[in-house]
């Protein structure tokens, strides 16, 4: 019969633990910042700390708002759902401002302009004269990115490229791994990210696509914090701090 009491005790313990872990210490309001820290040089983890352009920006914004902040690391395509369901107050993760996304979230002023590049393995003999040449090949892309959307809208939807020739991956890591393994011929990726990975692996740019995308901070639609965040960002841009942060990480 001792068994019963043990079981009851463990049950009580687990209820206790879950309740405790569920209750956040509700003292000062914390700025919950969402990101997908798998995207150097904008956001990544070194040991226990978050580093990168977006991470430095985020810290500065929190400073200006005089708020404690918490960085919540998650899958890229769960950032927007997290904003909509009030899990985070803002998302900064090299997110390109698009009409589609603007229907679901509010964006700050743009703070960075990026373009897409097509990368290939260093020793690959393949060449691309123009964008249209991509149609003959297998191209990898990260889920939810503007690169993937670009190829979908301009190639797959127009029947120039077969649906399964555009390969989809959870992050660029997998896309690039497959590139290096020869499972895809090219990968479409933001230029700044490509730069970061080129330092670690033998990849080179095969083609630049001038998409002139702007990164913005995504925020829940109509949230009262948005004006403050935007104001903070504007301050940082006006004072030149944004440029200097970018230059620290992107040479």
């Amino acid at each position: 019969m001792k068994q019963k009491y043990f079981v009851l005790f463990v049950l009580a313990l687990c209820v206790f633990i879950t309740v405790i872990s569920g209750c956040a210490k509700k003292t000062a309001p914390v700025l919950r910042i969402g990101t997908n820290a798998e995207y150097p040089p904008f956001e990544s983890k070194e040991g226990d700390s978050y580093v990168g352009v977006d991470m430095d920006l985020a810290r500065k914004i929190a400073e200006k708002l005089e708020m404690e902040f918490q960085i919540i690391d998650m899958d890229f395509d769960t950032l927007i759902p997290s904003l909509s369901s009030n899990k985070i107050d803002m998302a900064i993760s090299a997110i390109t401002i698009t009409e589609e996304r603007q229907r679901q979230v509010d964006f700050s002023e743009p703070y960075y302009v990026a373009n897409q590049v097509i990368i290939k393995k260093q020793d690959s003999p393949l060449t691309l004269e123009k964008v249209e040449d991509l149609a003959k090949y297998k191209v990898g892309s990260q889920n939810g990115t503007t690169g993937q959307i670009y190829l979908t809208e301009n190639f797959v939807d127009k029947n120039l490229m077969k649906k399964d020739a555009l390969k989809k991956y959870p992050t660029n890591i997998e896309a690039i791994t497959d590139l290096l393994n020869g499972n895809v011929d090219f990968v479409i990726i933001d230029d700044s990210a490509a730069q970061g990975y080129a330092k670690l692996k033998p990849i080179v740019t095969a083609l630049k696509i001038e998409t002139n995308e702007s990164y913005g901070i995504a925020m829940p639609k109509g949230s009262p914090l948005n004006a403050k965040i935007n104001a903070a960002l504007k301050d940082l841009m006006d004072s030149g701090e944004v440029i200097s942060i970018i230059q620290t990480h992107i040479k």
């Binding site: 872990s21 690391d73 369901s85 899990k87």
Partner: protein
């Protein structure tokens, strides 16, 4: 080859930071699943009418939902009706509810194999249904369920990396962070697999030990 091995070994401590979370998630989900599973099993066997039907429906529903879907439903969907649940709790609920449906089956199978005469004997002594369930059926059912329960435990342990989907830092996530900065996915994933494997072995032997402590001569618990 040696270089890979060294890389793996030096990074195992870092990845191991996620072990405590993985264990917490697994244990709590299993406990939730167990409490609900036992209740569902009992009600399906001894319950009457609408309650029995409701419980059958529950089991049918949660057997069919993929954990990730349920997890997202709880974490992202519930806020729409005003319930904002933390990532950790969402994972425990998601994995726990899915596990409860399978655990209900395990317990039900165990109870049914005990036979109705045990209940009759308890009742004939004047013990009533509840006491008989508690003192006669449950102790036997728990012992008979042990192999199935152990199996389910390892399944939930191996599902715990789903927590990554709602931003919880566990073993796999720590691995991915390393991969992003050092880009050696094969070694890191191998290291993560090794850690999960060791965890699995530890729990397997723990359950085996528990089974041997509580075994009763005459109950053959299959080697599993």
């Amino acid at each position: 080859m040696l270089d890979s091995a060294i890389y793996i070994l030096t990074n195992i401590p870092l990845l191991s930071k996620g072990i405590w979370i993985a264990v917490q998630i697994t244990v709590l989900s299993m406990l939730l699943g167990m409490v609900i599973g036992i209740a569902v099993a009992f009600l399906r066997i001894y319950g009457k009418g609408p309650l029995k039907k409701a419980v059958s429906l529950y089991e049918w529903v949660f057997r069919g939902i993929p954990q990730l879907v349920l997890l997202f439903l709880v974490y992202f969907g519930l806020p729409e009706i005003g319930l904002n649940i933390s990532p950790f709790l969402s994972v425990v609920i998601g994995l726990g509810l899915c596990s409860s449906a399978y655990q209900a089956q395990i317990f039900r199978g165990a109870i049914l194999s005990i036979g109705s005469e045990q209940m009759e004997a308890g009742l004939s002594l004047g013990m009533g249904k509840v006491k008989t369930l508690f003192f006669v059926i449950l102790p036997q059912a728990v012992r008979l369920s042990l192999p199935g329960f152990t199996n389910e435990f390892t399944i939930v342990l191996k599902d715990s990396p789903l927590a990554y989907a709602v931003g919880i830092a566990e073993i796999l996530k720590y691995g991915r962070d390393l991969i992003v900065s050092e880009f050696r996915p094969f070694e890191i994933y191998l290291a993560a697999a090794l850690i999960y494997f060791v965890l699995f072995e530890i729990f397997y032997y723990l359950f085996k030990f528990i089974a041997s402590r509580y075994k009763v001569p005459g109950y053959i618990i299959a080697e599993g």
